[in-house]
C-alpha cells in the first residue's frame, strides 16, 4: 500500500432526500475524476447517496482549534441572534 503518494480528498454526499451534502470521510486518489469514482465505491455502496462532491483536502482552509475561543465564544451569549422571539407557523419546513 502506498496511499500516501496520492493526494487526500474530502468527500461530501447528498442523500436521496437530503437537502445538503454531508461530509462523510476522506480518501486518496491520483486525480479528481478517480477521486469521484473512489468516493462512489467507498461511500455510496450502501445506497446512501444521489450526489457526490470531492475536494482536495489541501484546497480547504480550516479554522484552527487554537482560535476556537476568539472565533466562536463571542456568539455564545447573543441569544437575540436566534429567531426565538417569533411565532413559527407549523407548516414551514426546514427552518
Amino acid at each position: 500500500m502506498s496511499g500516501s503518494s496520492w493526494p487526500l480528498y474530502e468527500v461530501f454526499v447528498r442523500g436521496k432526500r437530503g437537502l445538503n451534502h454531508v461530509h462523510v470521510g476522506s480518501l486518496h486518489a491520483p486525480d479528481d475524476e478517480m477521486a469521484l469514482r473512489n468516493a462512489r465505491d467507498l461511500y455510496t455502496r450502501r445506497n446512501e447517496g444521489v450526489s457526490i462532491w470531492v475536494v482536495r483536502a489541501s484546497a480547504i482552509t480550516a479554522s484552527s482549534p487554537d482560535e476556537k475561543d476568539p472565533f466562536f465564544a463571542p456568539s455564545g451569549d447573543k441569544v437575540y441572534r436566534h429567531p426565538t422571539f417569533y411565532d413559527i407557523p407549523e407548516d414551514v419546513p426546514h427552518l
Binding site: 500500500m1 502506498s2 496511499g3 496520492w6 454526499v13 447528498r14 442523500g15 436521496k16 432526500r17 437530503g18 437537502l19 445538503n20 454531508v22 461530509h23 462523510v24 480518501l27 486518496h28 486518489a29 491520483p30 486525480d31 475524476e33 478517480m34 469514482r37 473512489n38 462512489r40 465505491d41 467507498l42 455502496r45 450502501r46 445506497n47 446512501e48 447517496g49
Partner: protein, 294 residues
Amino acid sequence: MSNPYDGLADAGEEKHWAFGTGFTAALSDVDRVVPSSVDRDDLVAYCLMLGDDALVYSQRLAEWCSRAPELEEDVALANIALDLLGQARLLLTRAGEVEGAGRDEDALAYLRDERGFRNVRLVEIDCGPGEGGDFAATIARLLVFSAWRLALFQRLTESVDPVLAAVAAKGVKELAYHRDHAAQWTLRLAGGTAYSRERVIAGLARVWPYVDELFTPHPVETRLAAAVDPATLRSEVDGVLDTVFDAAGLERPDVEQIAPVAGKAGRDGVHTEAMGYLLAEMQHVARSMPGALW
C-alpha cells in the same frame, strides 16, 4: 442533528442501519414462467453460461481483496466482484428453477465439476494477485470483459424470457460502471510512466488470446429464442475498445488466439489448467462441510 448520517437517510425509512436506506429486492416482481417459445433445456444451459462467466470472474476479482495496490482500488475491485456475484446468483437460480431437478444456486456453484462449468476461458485465467499476477492485466481483462458483457446485456434486455431481461436490465447499470472503471485505469496506466505503459500493453497481450472465444457462438446461443448471438456483438465491442485504445494511444494487440480443444472451448466445459485450481479454492469448504451454515 445527533448523527451526521441522519442527513443521508430517507425520511420515514428504516433507521436501524447506520446509513443507507431504501433497498429493493432484485427481480421480486418479475414473472418467472418460461415462455412457450423458449426451449427449457437450452435456457438452463444459457443461464449457466452467463451465470458461470459472472461467478468465475467474481472469484478471480475477489482474489485481489486486501491485495490491491491501493486501499481505494481494493474496495473498487471488491464492489465489481460483488456486482458480478449478484448477477451469478440470479442466473444460477434461474437455471436451477427451470431445470427442476432440485438444484439451487449453491448446488450449481459448489457441486459441479470443471466439465460442468460453461464460462468463457477469459474469466478463468490467472491474472494475479498471486505469483505472476499483474494489476495491469487485471484491468485489461476487466476492460475487455465488461465491454463485451455490457453490449451483450444491452441486447438481452429485449429477451423474450422475462427473467433474463430483468437480470440484464439490472446488470447494464453495473457493467457500465465496470467498463468505465477499467477505461479510466487504462488511460492512466497508458499515459502514466513508461513502465506503467509497458505493463498495460503486456496486460492486454496477455488477455487478448481469449477474445475471439467471446464472439464464437455455442449452438445453444444461436438457436435459443431468449439468447443473444455473441457473433452479432463484435463490431460494437471492437468500436468501444478502439475508442479507449485511441484515447490511450494504444494499439489493438496483434496476438494469436487460443484455439478450441478438438472444437470445444469454455462454453462446452473445456477449460484451461487454471480452472481446476480456481474451483478447488472456491468449492472446497462447501464440499468439505456439506450444508454448513454460519
